[in-house]
Symmetry: D2
Subunit: 304 residues, 4 copies
Amino acid sequence: MSSVLSGVKIAVLGGDDRELVLITELVKMGATVGVVGFPRDKIAHGAFVINTVEEGCKDAEVVILPMPGTNSEGVIRAVYANDNLYLTEQTIRQISSEAVIIIGSARPFLKKWSEEYNFTLLEIAEMDEIAILNSIPTAEGAIQIAMEESRITIHGSNSCVIGFGRVGITLARTLKSLGSNVTVAARSPGQLARAFEMGCKHGQLHQLPELLSQIDFVYNTIPSMTLTKEVLTHANPDILIIDLATQPGGTDFEAANQLGLKAILAPGLPGKVAPVYAGKILAQVIPGLIINELSKSDRSMLFG
Amino acid sequence: MSSVLSGVKIAVLGGDDRELVLITELVKMGATVGVVGFPRDKIAHGAFVINTVEEGCKDAEVVILPMPGTNSEGVIRAVYANDNLYLTEQTIRQISSEAVIIIGSARPFLKKWSEEYNFTLLEIAEMDEIAILNSIPTAEGAIQIAMEESRITIHGSNSCVIGFGRVGITLARTLKSLGSNVTVAARSPGQLARAFEMGCKHGQLHQLPELLSQIDFVYNTIPSMTLTKEVLTHANPDILIIDLATQPGGTDFEAANQLGLKAILAPGLPGKVAPVYAGKILAQVIPGLIINELSKSDRSMLFG
Amino acid sequence: MSSVLSGVKIAVLGGDDRELVLITELVKMGATVGVVGFPRDKIAHGAFVINTVEEGCKDAEVVILPMPGTNSEGVIRAVYANDNLYLTEQTIRQISSEAVIIIGSARPFLKKWSEEYNFTLLEIAEMDEIAILNSIPTAEGAIQIAMEESRITIHGSNSCVIGFGRVGITLARTLKSLGSNVTVAARSPGQLARAFEMGCKHGQLHQLPELLSQIDFVYNTIPSMTLTKEVLTHANPDILIIDLATQPGGTDFEAANQLGLKAILAPGLPGKVAPVYAGKILAQVIPGLIINELSKSDRSMLFG
Amino acid sequence: MSSVLSGVKIAVLGGDDRELVLITELVKMGATVGVVGFPRDKIAHGAFVINTVEEGCKDAEVVILPMPGTNSEGVIRAVYANDNLYLTEQTIRQISSEAVIIIGSARPFLKKWSEEYNFTLLEIAEMDEIAILNSIPTAEGAIQIAMEESRITIHGSNSCVIGFGRVGITLARTLKSLGSNVTVAARSPGQLARAFEMGCKHGQLHQLPELLSQIDFVYNTIPSMTLTKEVLTHANPDILIIDLATQPGGTDFEAANQLGLKAILAPGLPGKVAPVYAGKILAQVIPGLIINELSKSDRSMLFG
């Protein structure tokens, strides 16, 4: 359609169905898109397959890594790749200092390299825009799990949402609208005031032990140990725990197991339950980021 | 707790997890409950196991058959029974003419027998109270299927609900509150006015061909052929059809298959997705019905 | 625009702003519209002013009377008329037996005349289509009164809706969505089941005394004595009573006064709070009724 | 009930019905409460009347000024006072340097004095807790105005909410739940993403001219010139403008007037439409603030 990315060289390294939607969009916008870690028949006509990460990075003005990024050994998440894709220091060194790397969340080693080798690193998972839009499939995926794993309805059940940030707000609104009695447990008085405005009951985090005694479904969104053994001992024995915080979650899973409580760690739901939707979010946000970054470097050249 | 059913002899013939909840409640209320088609360790302390349908019916003042009743050969639905349980004319003949048989929906043969042998037959599936309460797990179960079978979110999707009776109203409200754009297709102007009040788009049934061209999820609740081949040829090729009408549903499944449309027949959801909830509904409604019926016969005796 | 009413002679006798919207629409559809009880400068270009009810009725194929109709003396409600407009038997006698009279609600004398003089009388206030669409401005008007007359917010307040018909359902949904804790008091188990599905608390009418002790706002929609002295003695002393039932309402206003309870009778809200909207409802429904009726008489002539 | 404020000397200088609720609560908590600017019969038993601001300030550990504070001449808002109450530098100088002054919003002169004379000044209107809780009566008051000033229903109308902070979010949610089609105009992509999640349409502020052409009700919450003459020239001629930003609002009222557009400036709604509720908010938040501040000074003494 448009050609706002005309001629921009982009490498997409690994990923899942979301990247397929994104690639299609980037090609439509005129970019020259090289793809590593996907079979030929999966990717959009117009993009071309590259065999190695090294090759992909050479010459690229923009390198796109998946939302979950890499593991601590540098293995790029790539569900359609036959072999492991590694992001190594050697590869990174080849990247132009004017290049932009876009990733969901970066491990410490990648942040260090970005400073050392002076390229721009954009972590997008925590951008409000991405995180709020992703909170929608996260909430739906969490509710789907609740439906699948329980023998009661959401309607009329007692739910507790721990944490009232981007995911917590969406989840509380959705559960409430399904007819659940929702209690929000959060830290700040402002968050609790908003929960009240949305028609939820609410309490402080330190009140969790008493709050959980009557709860059927508890959803944790805080990425630090929240559902401790101490808290869990007070929970309704039939409670279902759904932990949405990034790995390793905020639940003492061992304690839950010992206490006979059902607990499920469910990070990264958008890519799993609604990859097409989640891909569209990327396709909606990333081109704007690229244009923005490239115009910066243009300007620096103009005045350099 | 209470003992309002003290001494009343009740036979529960077959069923599933819902009946287990119901049996527990009836025992609590003081009834003498005999159960056919469940293993001893499943049923509530206080109820006793009976081996045959015949034995169960003899002496019973109230006979409870499951919501789905029997098939056309008289086999009672009984998911925990080892052998088929048959409801035969011979058995029925033994039932006292003052007895009450409670069932979800009765086949024609059972209705005929109730006239012939003069017992009271209560079909409860179509009672407003039961049907509206059951519409809640039906709606949630339908949405769970939609979540599981699609790669997009309910939020932002285009849904069409066909029929605006007890299930249709609940489903439309629920989908709307999840953020879907809901179109209601129904017959009466009053139903369409109510759909408008609830914030839904709406159209006549004869407009289905045009309505379905932009729809992602269509839910049929009308128990007669509605999604005909003609209608389906106009549907969005990526549509997901979820048919909630009692078997055989209202969809031309063969045509759907030929056209490459995904179509799922999903009757009887309450007992599947939320048996505990659905059992509580029975436990909430049936005792009142029994008390009501027994007081009638008492009264007729008093004035007889 | 269209000319589906081309040449049909319609008399509009009295009314308020709603009729002004309707008249405009009828003229657009090609009807010949004579109007009694409005000044020239108020009515749509194309309609013509008639001075008397008698003159208006002569020759008219369709006579439109206002939603509130007449009082018991036959005075037609006509807020813009300088003098009283009377609907007399003498006038009615002149009406063609093939004519159709459309009115909101008819007094007994008009019903009697319709049988005697054999014209068709359509009472539309109770048609589902009209009543449900009118329930929207009724609910908003009732809530506006609650806001104006109280010093607390609707959000977080305790509301009780008595009756769960067309107005009650809309009102309960609206109050609930504003964040009020809503209790529905109604007669049938099916209505209470629906209230539960909508997230409301609920009780039987005979429980009103206990229900009202904690209620801030009570809305009555049942057109018979419901809020009796006995019930009111148990009400929260700060309660605000808003009675939406047609005059004389369902509240013992004298008792309320004696008990120091604030009670407001508020019938006919659509015409007061949202006349443009309410006029559009008439303009949307009445032309269809006319076409329908005229086609009947045509057919009867064809086959007569 | 409790006595957590036992012996604390508090002066309440002016205010409206909200302060009456607050005073009652402070007395209950054991505080010694002196009140300036209210007649004896209005204030709670246990509080005592003081005649002048000077006297009130002397010895007070906590001085409470109203939410709207003072005007630029130092006149304290005091709706029940017979004469103007002035907050002068001379009075302020008498206040203990360990005293706490609590006010909604302070004028620059008061801020300067707090630095000069070294007392603690707490501006609470912008605290999340207060502002979010106050957003509820603000939204309801704004909708009440919309209902009173229009002849259409909120349901089905097109609303635009400008700004998506604490008031904007509550207002959008409330309007949406009443069945209005809501468009949110805001600056940040995160705010627009949240508006999308809540089911609203959305646009950038620079798109206001096109956005407003189809809008029935526009609510401004941004406290700077937003509805400029340029923007207003593109608005629907029947639009109703409700400006909720603090005086002088964000609307060019002169231009609106010239263009024949109805525009209403409505700041400070909580105290007007729901004084009891708004007073409860103060009574809920202020005691905690006092306890918190006093414990700080205690601690500083302990370690001083």
